[in-house]
Symmetry: D2
């Protein structure tokens, strides 16, 4: 296997996609469904099977579940007599939708050798066949309700594309052979890359926050509403590996006074001494990446840190994490560009050395930015009716909001109002941070 060749293949497919971008739902469906399979090209059959921890899922489960989603919420509703290839699939590939029936136990997804990978690709083809027929019908006689569920399914699949990458990274990380998923598309990083940490000020005031306009958004992004904000300033770039290393070397992981109580308990219980995927070999720090194990790079954004670590670092640095409101205010007017999955770097990258020191960098892509905001309902929030109402609302407890997308997110998937959320201890996503301060 030569991952480089494979990623070249991925690359050409992607640029094709970019050039051919169309607004038709059918095209979007095909592009996104196809991209999921493109992402699987570097994998062996064995790689599809493994579940390395309860929070992660096997690749083949992601492939099946995203098909189940269209089957359950679109085909079963809109196509009379629709039948899945195997009635047991309804059970096996439901994730957490209690309203959609009983389901297989999440931590046991990795115990299923069957259906095989080939059978799951057949399942995808089965669903795609029916979906394509339906979407052609839909083009002829539009139905806003159906279109909105299909659009939701497309965004849902993009979320699982990101999970597929972070989950397979975890699978490879627990293997002493430390296999690589793919080499970065453009491995030449500007070795002089650097960027002074600047601060951008924002005044106090009443801000409108949340999704209000055209286009798709998840239910948890609305309704738009007003929030009063005190004056604040935001760092112009993400915290880097080099800066985080200084925190470690200053005793970051052995000083309880820097940590939330729960964070410190987690550090002790888990034996954390560095971000996830870092290991010390002969006193040097190495890290596992989707391209295998390599030395850490000081100028890259730090990633795979928990909320606890982000919060402790900020305290050590004399700053704090931004609120999600502050982040969203800062993102107003920013270009939706950055190091996304289409870039095939498979990892966050440094700010270019020529970048303006006063502009905001890395707002989108690279790493999801932890905010200090617990994930709660916006005032007036109402979940979608039915089982799809379980998509977001029932998780509004003991999680924190992250903003901006990562190097594993599709550019077409992210928005300034997008609210990602994970528990404070989660580290296996591409999660990092940007500092904020009161003025």
């Amino acid at each position: 296997m030569n991952p480089l060749d494979q990623t070249k293949t991925i690359g050409s497919r992607l640029s094709d996609q970019a050039s051919e971008r169309t607004e038709s739902l059918l095209s979007r469906y095909q592009e996104v469904r196809s991209f999921t399979e493109v992402l699987c090209q570097p994998l062996t059959t064995e790689d599809y099977v493994v579940q390395s921890m309860p929070d992660a899922s096997p690749t083949k489960w992601h492939l099946a579940h995203t098909s189940w989603f269209f089957e359950t919420f679109v085909l079963a509703a809109a196509v009379p007599d629709y039948q899945p290839p195997d009635p047991m699939y309804r059970y096996l590939f439901n994730s957490y939708y209690v309203g959609a029936g009983e389901r297989h136990c999440r931590p046991k997804r990795g115990l299923l050798s069957r259906p095989t990978v080939a059978e799951i690709y057949q399942y995808r083809a089965h669903v795609d066949g029916h979906m394509m027929a339906l979407l052609e019908q839909l083009a002829a006689s539009p139905c806003a309700q159906l279109a909105s569920v299909v659009t939701l399914g497309i965004h849902h699949e993009q979320q699982h594309q990101e999970l597929l990458l972070t989950d397979i990274k975890h699978v490879f990380s627990v293997n002493p052979l430390r296999p690589a998923y793919a080499v970065p598309c453009d491995p030449q990083v500007d070795s002089n890359a650097t960027s002074t940490l600047g601060w951008r000020p924002y005044p106090e005031g009443l801000a409108w926050i949340g999704h209000a306009g055209e286009g798709f958004a998840f239910d948890n992004e609305g309704p738009a509403h007003r929030v009063w904000v005190e004056p604040f300033q935001l760092a112009t770039r993400l915290v880097t590996v080099g800066e985080y290393l200084a925190f470690i070397e200053d005793g970051g992981y052995v000083r309880p006074d820097l940590w939330l109580s729960e964070g410190w308990a987690t550090v002790q219980a888990q034996g954390w001494q560095a971000p996830l995927y870092w290991e010390q070999v002969d006193r040097n720090w190495w890290m596992m990446t989707l391209s295998g194990r390599r030395p850490i790079e000081a100028k890259e954004p730090v990633c795979h840190v928990s909320y606890y670590e982000a919060d402790a670092y900020a305290r050590w640095a004399g700053a704090r994490l931004p609120t999600e409101t502050e982040w969203e205010i800062a993102s107003a007017g920013a270009t939706l560009a950055g190091n996304f999955v289409e870039h095939q770097a498979w990892h966050p990258i440094p700010v270019e050395s020529a970048a303006s020191p006063s502009a905001l960098h890395q707002l989108f892509g690279d790493v999801w930015e932890w905010t200090q905001s617990p994930y709660t309902a916006y005032p007036g929030y109402r979940p979608i009716a039915g089982a799809l109402g379980e998509y977001n609302g029932k998780f509004m407890c003991n999680q924190f909001v992250l903003r901006g997308g990562s190097c594993a997110t599709s550019q077409t998937h992210i928005r300034p109002t997008y609210r990602n959320f994970f528990p404070a201890f989660a580290r296996w996503q591409f999660t990092g941070m940007r500092l904020a301060k009161d003025i």
Copy 2:
């Protein structure tokens, strides 16, 4: 043992206290310290020893820890050559102040038969002797810094008085003999008590929230700051046992669609079917109280519910929990009166039948009201310097704010800006809820 006699004793002591209320720190110190011991009068020596779950502490630990607090943060700082009766006490009775040194493991507090109860009372007397001397000095030559730590220690002791009661209730509840702590002072509840559930509306606007004025407040109550609030309405009284029973009988505990995902997982894992301390005997519901086991009372406020249950009930009732901001707005101008520990009811009580249906009732006392607000730092929050900075700040993660105090809280301890906080699963405090709605 005749608990009634004992509670009579408690009663007279309390009314004495009320009449003699003074502003002198020394008097306050004596009153509060003495009240802790008054609360222990109904206990046998054996009762002081038991720790019935990791979150609760033995009575004798509360007695010692509150003394340790004065010793560590006042005497050790202000009294040259101060020595504790046993140097090991520093270790045994530190709760969670990492900055104050190593400490005994919390879940093992119930494994210590020594020091004996008598020795712990001697420890209290030792600390009180030194404190009294110091406070007399302090009266002569005031020191604001020292006075503020003493005041904090007094409020700290009042917090532990409430915990002492809720912890001993738990101890008695796990005992098949279901012992009683004390009979209610005035057991005649108005059996016609009832109160229509009314709703009070509040307009949108920018509100000042948090503690700003004179008098004591914990650091987490400030700084005062502005919050924008959408229009809302608040229920005029607490949710009652009868209303909650309707939720149970409508399948409240078997319908996952009513619950947060974490809440449902907890219901399943713990086998919850009702609030803590309820048990079904021959199809009738009984409950454990500080006065022993008795049938539930429909008109009383429901208590010993978790955040998960409060949230599920509100969803079922077509309402929601208030935010802490909404609660604080509503409390503006309310009289600080209610069913507090001094009332010796040892349990929440119904609204009187003659009460005005449009006024807000039970805002203070009876039960702590769960809000939908995660416990976070107010904008500009800075913890106290030193080990005392661990008092509140390090717990600002994965907890929810509760407001208003309970039947186990001292009237002199509560304020409109007071922010209590517990994890979403906690049920052993006197916790209940008041509904809110959008307008």
Copy 3:
């Protein structure tokens, strides 16, 4: 996939083996190594990867570990400059030989997607190439020590063949699709098969027990020694499914008085209601077999019972389990024949209806028979020196001896003195029982 076709292939290979049986070590090596791969023919690539519980291993781990055994204990010792294909294999495929270095954590064997199945077959070929060369040399210039380790490795591989089957059965059993491994070679079971339960008496006396003669035996089978035995009688056949069902229907799993204290605690904690792999569907009992799920068969020997269940059944039946000494006495002079893996029934089978009621049946093959004997060292036992001494000796604690082999054991692997051992709670092997009584 048509399992029937595949098992036909297995069948012809096996009969070839039987006819060509040779005493040469090289031939034995080739036969056994090849048979391991024959057993894998019905599997998909995905099936090789999964580890369904900590006690079981993925198929590909078995394939690799048996090769590692020859590599570590033969090639590394006898072949100068021998190198494994990847130095990490030493770590990945060591099971429990502390003397052979660090090793990968057992419960995490199923987290390794790499090396792939193809790479592991290459590993086997690599080892086989070196072994074949060495065994040809050895034929020319014999070395007893080396030959004995090779022979041990061959028997070791046969043990893993049995585990491979029981482990894949477990993998398939936890999959809601209930996949089949292979159809039985001769699925026509004599439906009139039956056999009255007879009892054979044995007198008291001093018996010689343990392996003493020619031929291979594990170290734990010796030294031969004398044991005094009181008079006893032994059932002429295994306990059947029908008999065990009567135990269940008589409240076997709800009557604590029938159970060892540990057994009852296990029944309660695990919710056991029947042997492993039984499930009730609409009040009928079905069972998972290597040929998929099917109704239970009353006349078959019961299998997949723990020691606890075997012991409780015996108590209920007014009998007891035999000691291993009693079993070995009874096996003296018995023909080493039975339902072994070569028969390809993949499951225990009933005694033929024409069988003599007074003869001992099913002594070998079908199911491993639990004895009441804890697995201990025979008097004078000395483990082999070096890491191979860990093979048996270090497990002589809290396990029970089983005798006679099963339908998943090779005929060439079993002996009357063979001592298998498992903890009292183990159920995933083909384990059943024969009753005994005092006279």
Copy 4:
């Protein structure tokens, strides 16, 4: 509290008992019941309450349970209309007798502050009153069946006397204050005490083992039966602290090759580095005893070792543990004398320096000696009918036999055929070892 004074009191009571020994059941009952209370004299009320681990019980539970035993198996059967002081006591103080009804969960015995210690002493008095009346009747009109259950209850109480001491030692050991139970009666140990380790040989042969004669024995001590024994030799004294220290210093706890597989896993999981109750202070070893913490003494028998440690030590020493048969053969004709609880040393003591090097020492008392014999039924064993059949039989699984009694055992309680049993990991009893060897 002056423990010395208290133990003097204990001493005089004990010598009184010795001089007044009588064969009457009533006297025996009174002596033993009274001795239980004598053993409690050094305790504070708080000490009675604590349960420091699931395997141990609070003192007050022991006091109540032994009374419950007489109540349930004697009074309820023989005294019409007998009523316990509280019907709930039947539930609270049943240990593991399923046949005697539902019972309180073992690990929660320490959560019960009520009944108080005083109430439990009243309970004892209540039972004693009824028992005394019954025993007087019984003296007049003998009933063998009833007498045998009373005798069993007396021996049962003596077993709990030993547990009471080992359990309170554990309670004190987990308390950082390290309280002492009592000072040794004769603290002057012969500091020149020493004893060469000799070996006594025994020939092969058929031996009669088990209880056959007059007098009380537990059901598990019979029936007497023949066992063939190979020639062996037995160490003339117990393994000492000094010898065990040499094992530690030779890497005993870091060399997996010395351990059973389960033993090594336990060492790793529990972090064992020495026997229970040893702690290293500034590179010196100290140990917790019933008389508080003090330096270890090289010449004392080592105690508080698990079976795993005893087995590993024996392997390191080039020896093995004896079988229970070997131990019983050696005990034939030995005087039933030694360091028992009546001696009030509260700890094992060295062999006197003047002792004969060829005689067997310390066979009885000092420490229970681990044998290599799993605890199994003797041939022909039948448990007592009814709930009392649960006394011994249901524990015959995954435990090892210990012989000879300890410094916490009553002299009147032990016999050469006595079979004590504990799981391999248990360490909180006074357990040690004597070595054996093949000849």
